[in-house]
C-alpha cells in the first residue's frame, strides 16, 4: 500500500516533465508520422495514401542527390572540425593570457548566428567584391576571380566548409580544452619523469583520457552537419543544378513553398532515422571505449 502511494507521489513529481515531453515531443512526432501517411496541403483537404510518400522518396532522384551531398558534406567537414579543434585545444589548453585570448578569438564566431555568418561569407566569396578573390589574386594563387557559388558544386562545397569551420570550430575546441583540463596533472608529470615526449603524452595520455569528449563532439558535429540548411540556403541556394541542396533544404522546399506537408514529413522521418542510426553507433563506440 505504502509502495503504491509512493509510486503515485513519484508520478506526480514527474508529471510536469512528462506533460512537457508528451506535448512537445511525442504528440508532434505522432502527428508527423500521421502526416507522412497523407497527401497533405494546408490549403486543401488531406488524403490518406499509406506509405506513398516513402515510395515517392525512394524514387525521387533529388532525394538521393540531396542525401548523397549531405553525407559528403558530413564526411568531409567532420574530420576537419575534429582535428583542427583538437589541435587548437592542445595549443591553447594551458591557462596563460595569450592562450586564453586565442581561445576567446577562436570561440567568438560560435556566438554569431549561422544566418549572419553565412551572409558574411557569401559576400567575402563574392566574385566582384569579395575579399577572398582579391586576396588570392594579390598573392598570386589565382590568375582571375573564382566563381565560388553556382558554377561548380565541389568549389561551392569547399567554400561553405571553410565558412562553417570558421564558425563552429571554437565549439569543439572549448569542450576539448575542458576535457584536457580534467586530466589529473600528476599523470602527465609521471610520464614526463619517465621521459615521455610531448607527442607521446598526447597519444598515450591526453587522447585516451579525452576519448569520451571526442566522441561527444563527433556526434554533435555529425548531427549538425546532417541537419545543415542555413548555410546552403543562403550561400548556394542549392546551385548549381541542385547539386548543393541538402536533405533539410529538400524538406523545407516540400513542406513550405510547395505546401507538401506529407512528403516533407516523410523526408523528415527518413532523416531522423539516419540520425538515430548515427547516434546509436556513437553510443556503441562510447560504451566500447568506456569498457
Amino acid at each position: 500500500m505504502h509502495s503504491k502511494t509512493s509510486s503515485y507521489v513519484g508520478l506526480l513529481y514527474v508529471a510536469p516533465a512528462l506533460a512537457f515531453v508528451l506535448t512537445f515531443t511525442v504528440y508532434p512526432l505522432v502527428q508527423m508520422v500521421w502526416m507522412s501517411l497523407h497527401n497533405w496541403s494546408l490549403i486543401a483537404a488531406k488524403k490518406f495514401i499509406g506509405f506513398g510518400n516513402f515510395v515517392k522518396a525512394w524514387n525521387d532522384p533529388q532525394f538521393w542527390t540531396s542525401l548523397e551531398f549531405t553525407l559528403k558534406y558530413t564526411i568531409l567537414i567532420t574530420p576537419v572540425l575534429m582535428v583542427l579543434g583538437y589541435l587548437i585545444a592542445l595549443l591553447t589548453a594551458e591557462n596563460r593570457p595569450l592562450r586564453q585570448f586565442t581561445r576567446s578569438v577562436v570561440f567568438a564566431p560560435v556566438v554569431i548566428g549561422l544566418g549572419a555568418s553565412s551572409l558574411l561569407w557569401y559576400w567575402l566569396f563574392s566574385y566582384d567584391f569579395g575579399l577572398i578573390n582579391r586576396a588570392l589574386m594579390d598573392l598570386g594563387v589565382i590568375a582571375k576571380p573564382v566563381v565560388w557559388f553556382g558554377a561548380d558544386a565541389d568549389i561551392a562545397l569547399g567554400a561553405v566548409i571553410v565558412s562553417i569551420v570558421w564558425k563552429v570550430v571554437g565549439f569543439g575546441t572549448i569542450l576539448f580544452v575542458a576535457a584536457i583540463h580534467a586530466i589529473p596533472g600528476e599523470i602527465g608529470e609521471a610520464a614526463m619523469v619517465d621521459g615521455a615526449s610531448y607527442w607521446q603524452r598526447v597519444r598515450r595520455i591526453t587522447l585516451p583520457l579525452t576519448a569520451k569528449t571526442i566522441l561527444l563532439v563527433t556526434l554533435v558535429s555529425v548531427i549538425g552537419s546532417l541537419l545543415a540548411f542555413d548555410q546552403f540556403y543562403i550561400m548556394t541556394a542549392g546551385q548549381p543544378r541542385n547539386l548543393t541542396a541538402t536533405s533539410v533544404f529538400l524538406i523545407y522546399l516540400n513542406s513550405f513553398p510547395y505546401l507538401k506537408l506529407g512528403y516533407g514529413a516523410a523526408l523528415s522521418l527518413i532523416l531522423a532515422g539516419i540520425i538515430l542510426v548515427c547516434t546509436c553507433l556513437q553510443m556503441l563506440l562510447s560504451r566500447r571505449s568506456h569498457a
Binding site: 496541403s41 494546408l42 490549403i43 486543401a44 533529388q62 566574385y127 566582384d128 576571380p145 566563381v147 565560388w148 557559388f149 553556382g150 558554377a151 541556394a237 542549392g238 546551385q239 548549381p240 543544378r241 541542385n242 541542396a245 529538400l250 522546399l253 513550405f256 513553398p257 510547395y258 505546401l259
Partner: protein, 418 residues
C-alpha cells in the same frame, strides 16, 4: 490621499480612453503584403486610401516574400485571416483552385475599369470563369540597352535590336570593346529572373513554357530550343560575364546600372534604379524580341490583391479594389511614382509623357504574358525546379538540347500530374 486619488483618476481615465480607442483600432482593415515586392508602391496606395478613408484605414503588414505562401496557408488553416491579401500574382490560381479566396465576380461585374486592367493579372485572378482579385501593381520586363556602349561599339543608339540574331550581333561588337564590358546578361542561378527575361524571348518566338494543368503539354514550339541554342552560343562566345552563372537574384537588379553590360532583359523598376546607380549613363528601352524580327513579348509580373475566405470586411475590401482601379489612383498614385499603371488605357498621362523611358516600357503591357499554372513555384520559380535546371544545362553543358528539353518536359509533366 490626494496622490492616491489622482493616481486612481488617471488610471480610470486611461481605462476609459483605452475602451474608446480599441473599437477605432478594431475597425482598421488588416492587409498582408509580401516583402521583396514593390513595397514603395503599396505603401503609397495604402497611404492614399487611408487619407481618403480615415474611418476605415488599412493596417498593412509585410510578410517575408519566401514565407508568404506558407503564412497564408497557415492563416487559412487556422481561420486567422486578414481582410485583404496582396500576393505574388503567380500564386493566384493555386489559392483560387483550393477555394480559399472570396469570389468577387458578382460584386464587380459592372466595373468598366476591369475591361482595361492588365490582362496577365486578370487571367491569374480568374479560375473557372470566376474572378478572385484585381491587380495591385504591375512589373513588366523589357530590353534595356546602354546607349553609351552602343556608340563606342559603332552601333546606332536609336536602333535597338529587333531579333535574337541582332542581339547576338550587337553583343559581339560590345564585348569586343574589351575590359570588363560584356554584350549581354543571363542570370545563371535565378529561376525567377529567367522566367521574367528569358521566358518572353521564348513566348515571342511562338513557344509555350509551363503546363496549365496535368493535361497540358509543357515547353511546346521550336522557340524553346532556338532560344536555348541562342543563349548557349551567347555564353560560349563570351558575351556574358562569368559571374552571371552565380546570380541567384540577389544582385540582378543592380547589374544593368553597373554600366558594364550592353543589353539585358530587366524590369521597369530598373529605370529609377539605374538612374540612381549611374546618373551619367545614357540608356534606352525596347521590347524583348523573338527569333524573327517583329516578334515581341514581355512578362507581366507583380501582385494581385485578393480577399481570403473568412475576411470580415468584404465590402470594404471591394471598395479598396475599386479605389485601386480608379482613374485618379491610376494617375495620381501609380503614374506619379513612375510605376506602371494597372490599366492599359491610363498609360497616356502627364507623368508618363514627361518621362519617355516609362512610355517606352509601358508599351510592354500590351504584349505581356503571365504564366497560368497551379504549381508555379514548383515548376518555374523554385531553384530546384525543372525550369532552372533546363536553363543551366543549356547554358553551361554540351548535352544535346533535345535531350535537355525532353527531360525538363518529363519533370514538368510529373509535377503537374501530382
Amino acid at each position: 490621499m490626494s496622490l492616491q486619488l489622482s493616481t486612481r483618476c488617471r488610471s480610470a481615465l486611461a481605462g476609459l480612453l483605452a475602451m474608446v480607442a480599441l473599437p477605432a483600432m478594431a475597425e482598421d482593415l488588416q492587409m498582408w503584403e509580401r516583402s521583396g515586392g514593390n513595397a514603395g508602391m503599396v505603401d503609397a496606395l495604402v497611404a492614399a486610401w487611408n487619407e481618403k478613408n480615415p474611418d476605415r484605414k488599412i493596417n498593412l503588414t509585410y510578410i517575408p516574400h519566401t514565407e508568404m505562401v506558407p503564412k497564408i496557408a497557415q492563416a487559412i488553416a487556422s481561420g486567422e485571416v486578414p481582410d485583404l491579401m496582396g500576393m505574388d500574382l503567380i500564386y493566384g490560381p493555386q489559392f483560387e483552385a483550393a477555394g480559399q479566396l472570396v469570389d468577387i465576380t458578382d460584386k464587380v461585374k459592372d466595373w468598366p475599369e476591369l475591361k482595361t486592367a492588365v490582362q496577365g493579372h486578370m487571367a491569374v485572378s480568374t479560375y473557372e470563369g470566376r474572378l478572385y482579385g484585381v491587380p495591385l501593381y504591375a512589373d513588366v520586363s523589357a530590353l534595356f540597352y546602354n546607349k553609351d556602349l552602343f556608340r563606342k561599339a559603332g552601333l546606332d543608339p536609336e536602333k535597338p535590336p529587333t531579333s535574337l540574331a541582332e542581339i547576338r550581333e550587337y553583343a559581339d561588337k560590345i564585348t569586343a570593346l574589351g575590359g570588363d564590358v560584356k554584350g549581354y546578361f543571363l542570370p545563371g542561378s535565378c529561376a525567377g529572373c529567367n522566367i521574367f527575361t528569358v521566358g518572353p524571348l521564348m513566348w515571342a518566338s511562338g513557344a509555350t513554357i509551363e503546363p496549365r494543368d496535368a493535361n497540358d503539354e509543357p515547353l511546346q514550339g521550336d522557340g524553346v530550343k532556338e532560344v536555348l541554342q541562342w543563349a548557349r552560343d551567347m555564353i560560349k562566345a563570351g558575351n556574358v560575364h562569368e559571374d552571371a552563372r552565380a546570380e541567384t537574384g540577389e544582385t540582378f537588379h543592380l547589374r544593368f546600372g553597373s554600366g558594364k553590360i550592353g543589353m539585358m532583359g530587366t524590369g521597369n523598376f530598373n529605370i529609377t534604379l539605374a538612374k540612381e546607380q549611374n546618373p551619367s549613363m545614357d540608356f534606352g528601352i525596347a521590347l524583348l524580341p523573338g527569333v524573327k524580327s517583329g516578334q515581341v513579348s514581355s512578362f507581366a509580373g507583380g501582385d494581385i490583391v485578393t480577399i481570403p475566405n473568412g475576411s470580415k470586411r468584404i465590402d470594404d475590401a471591394i471598395d479598396f479594389m475599386k479605389f485601386l482601379l480608379s482613374d485618379e489612383t491610376q494617375v495620381e498614385v501609380y503614374a506619379k511614382m513612375l510605376n506602371m499603371t494597372t490599366r492599359g488605357d491610363m498609360t497616356d498621362n502627364k507623368y508618363f509623357q514627361a518621362e519617355p523611358k516609362v512610355q517606352q516600357v509601358a508599351k510592354a503591357i500590351a504584349v505581356a504574358e503571365t504564366p497560368y499554372t497551379l504549381k508555379f513555384f514548383e515548376l518555374i520559380n523554385s531553384p530546384q525546379g525543372p525550369w532552372l535546371q533546363m536553363l543551366q544545362r543549356a547554358y553551361y553543358e554540351d548535352t544535346d538540347l533535345d535531350t535537355i528539353i525532353s527531360e525538363a518536359k518529363a519533370q514538368m509533366k510529373a509535377i503537374a500530374a501530382e
